[in-house]
């Protein structure tokens, strides 16, 4: 009887957002049972900061690797009156960001924005916005490989033990070997962090420039890895420490340039190759941040940068 009742509930006819083409979807695409399963995982993830909660990721109408984990987390959190921002590589207009934003416009009917400060929920791939997030905002990260130890130990059965025993020696050895070989820790993105002094966590492939933004953030940070079936979280005001050594402290890194468009000296920059001679210019990766500065009258050396 329950199953039949649930069928009635999960069927597309119930309070569905009607799409333009006349197709019917449940609100935010996922059926209610799937959302419940993801929601339970999210709550446990918040209760155990940095720990990867297994969840039964569903097949989404976009490929694994395109953000299926993030999309499922967003779908489970979304309210009809949310204002959604989607970025990929910091930009709102990259094709995958456009595609995901459209998906939720179509299936959840939510309002969307490109302005970081206006968004209640931001789904991101590979960046944290430059504008500081505030209380009440949710940042959803798309995660390809959630296991920070995976490239040191490919077996899930082993890495799970390491987390259970808080045995992170392998990671420290790797970082130390980097230093002895290169004079630097050779990790520039997906730079591992320790959350609340307990779990070592992969921050998703954000540049390590963004790592400090995770620490003590006022926003709720949620991470979804669809193909790998993991969800994890950082509650607001949580200690997030990028792994380092006393004599080699963690160092965020950006190109030593200013944005050619808005002149920003503090933002993360994309490098653009301008011609066959290899002329380069640097522009903000965060398009909203750059646009905001331009509107405020800031100016860079547009086009003249080398």
């Amino acid at each position: 009887m329950n199953q039949i009742m649930q069928t009635a509930e999960t069927g597309p006819s119930t309070d569905s957002a009607k799409a333009a083409g006349g197709e019917a979807y449940n609100f935010a695409y996922l059926d209610e049972q799937t959302k419940r399963m993801i929601r339970r995982a999210l709550l446990k993830a918040l209760a155990i900061p940095g720990y990867q909660v297994p969840f039964a990721s569903r097949e989404m109408p976009m490929p694994y690797g395109w953000g299926t984990g993030g999309v499922q987390v967003t779908a489970a959190c979304l309210l009809p009156d949310d204002c959604l921002k989607v970025i990929d590589q910091g930009a709102d207009d990259t094709t995958n960001a456009v595609s995901i934003r459209r998906f939720f416009q179509r299936t959840a009917g939510v309002q969307t924005t490109e302005v970081t400060g206006e968004a209640t929920l931001i789904q991101t791939r590979h960046r944290i916005p430059e504008t500081e997030l505030v209380a009440g905002q949710i940042l959803v990260y798309q995660v390809p490989i959630p296991e920070p130890l995976r490239f040191l130990e490919p077996r899930e059965t082993e890495t799970r033990k390491m987390h259970a025993l808080e045995e992170y020696g392998l990671m420290h050895v790797k970082l130390y070997e980097d230093i002895s070989q290169h004079g630097h820790i050779a990790t520039a993105y997906s730079y591992p962090v320790k959350v609340e002094g307990r779990y070592v966590m992969d921050p998703s492939p954000i540049p390590k420039f963004d790592n400090p933004k995770m620490h003590g953030s006022s926003a709720i940070q949620l991470f979804g890895a669809g193909r790998e079936q993991r969800i994890y979280a950082i509650p607001p005001y949580t200690r997030v420490h990028s792994l380092d050594f006393d004599d080699y402290p963690f160092e965020p890194m950006r190109a030593d340039q200013t944005c050619a468009l808005c002149g920003a000296e503090d933002s993360y920059l994309d490098e653009v190759i301008m011609d066959d001679e290899g002329t380069r210019m640097f522009v903000c990766s965060d398009t909203d941040y750059c646009g905001g500065r331009l509107e405020a009258g800031h100016e860079g050396q547009q086009g003249d940068a080398t």
């Binding site: 009742m5 449940n26 446990k44 209760a47 900061p49 987390h163 607001p236």
Partner: protein
């Protein structure tokens, strides 16, 4: 108030469960913060907020324990009809519902395993009222400190001694709820 098992559910499940979940998510992300939910009307004496939490999170994949005060035929049939959740003894529960005193002792619940600390109970504890006065707490989700009338600080010590395993708690009263995840600590203890 609902009189039969068929009533008192969410009239608009996708939206109301999303709203309830967001309230619980905010509560869990900000221990001590009091959130308001509405819409569910479980049979008395189950609290509306407790009912909303169950409608939002429980289904045939979750095991629910009903403490004596909420273990009535009416509540059982309401819960079964709306969620399909199997009712179990306390030790097997994913969710345990009732007043604090009848949910004791706390060491009877699942606290997860070292490999899977998430496989643990969430207590849904009904209180006469939730107020931001009482125990001073700190931890992830709390900017410096917060205050909440936690029924028994022994839960905080229990969790502190078993971290990262432990028990998560959602407190509810009327249409209000607040959460105390296992990561929350007694501010007085942490100070020392």
């Amino acid at each position: 108030m609902a009189t039969t098992g068929l009533e008192g559910g969410f009239a608009n499940a996708p939206v109301q469960s999303a709203q309830t979940f967001r309230a619980v998510l905010n509560a869990m992300a900000h221990p001590g913060r009091i959130e308001t939910v509405s819409a569910a009307q479980p049979p008395l004496p189950m609290d509306p907020a407790a009912g909303a939490v169950l409608l939002t999170l429980a289904d045939h994949e979750t095991k629910v324990f009903l403490a004596p005060s909420v273990d009535s035929d009416a509540i059982r049939s309401w819960l079964t009809f709306h969620t399909g959740a199997p009712l179990v003894a306390s030790g097997a529960a994913d969710f345990a519902i009732g007043h604090w005193d009848e949910l004791l002792p706390i060491d009877q619940y699942q606290i997860g395993t070292a490999a899977y600390p998430d496989r643990s109970v969430t207590l849904v504890v009904t209180q006469p009222a939730i107020t931001d006065k009482g125990t001073v707490i700190c931890g992830p989700g709390i900017q410096s400190t917060a205050s909440l009338n936690i029924p028994d600080t022994a839960l905080l010590d229990f969790n502190a001694n078993r971290s990262p395993l432990g028990i998560d708690m959602i407190m509810n009263a009327g249409d209000q709820l607040a959460a105390v995840p296992r990561s929350t600590r007694l501010f007085d203890r942490e100070k020392r």
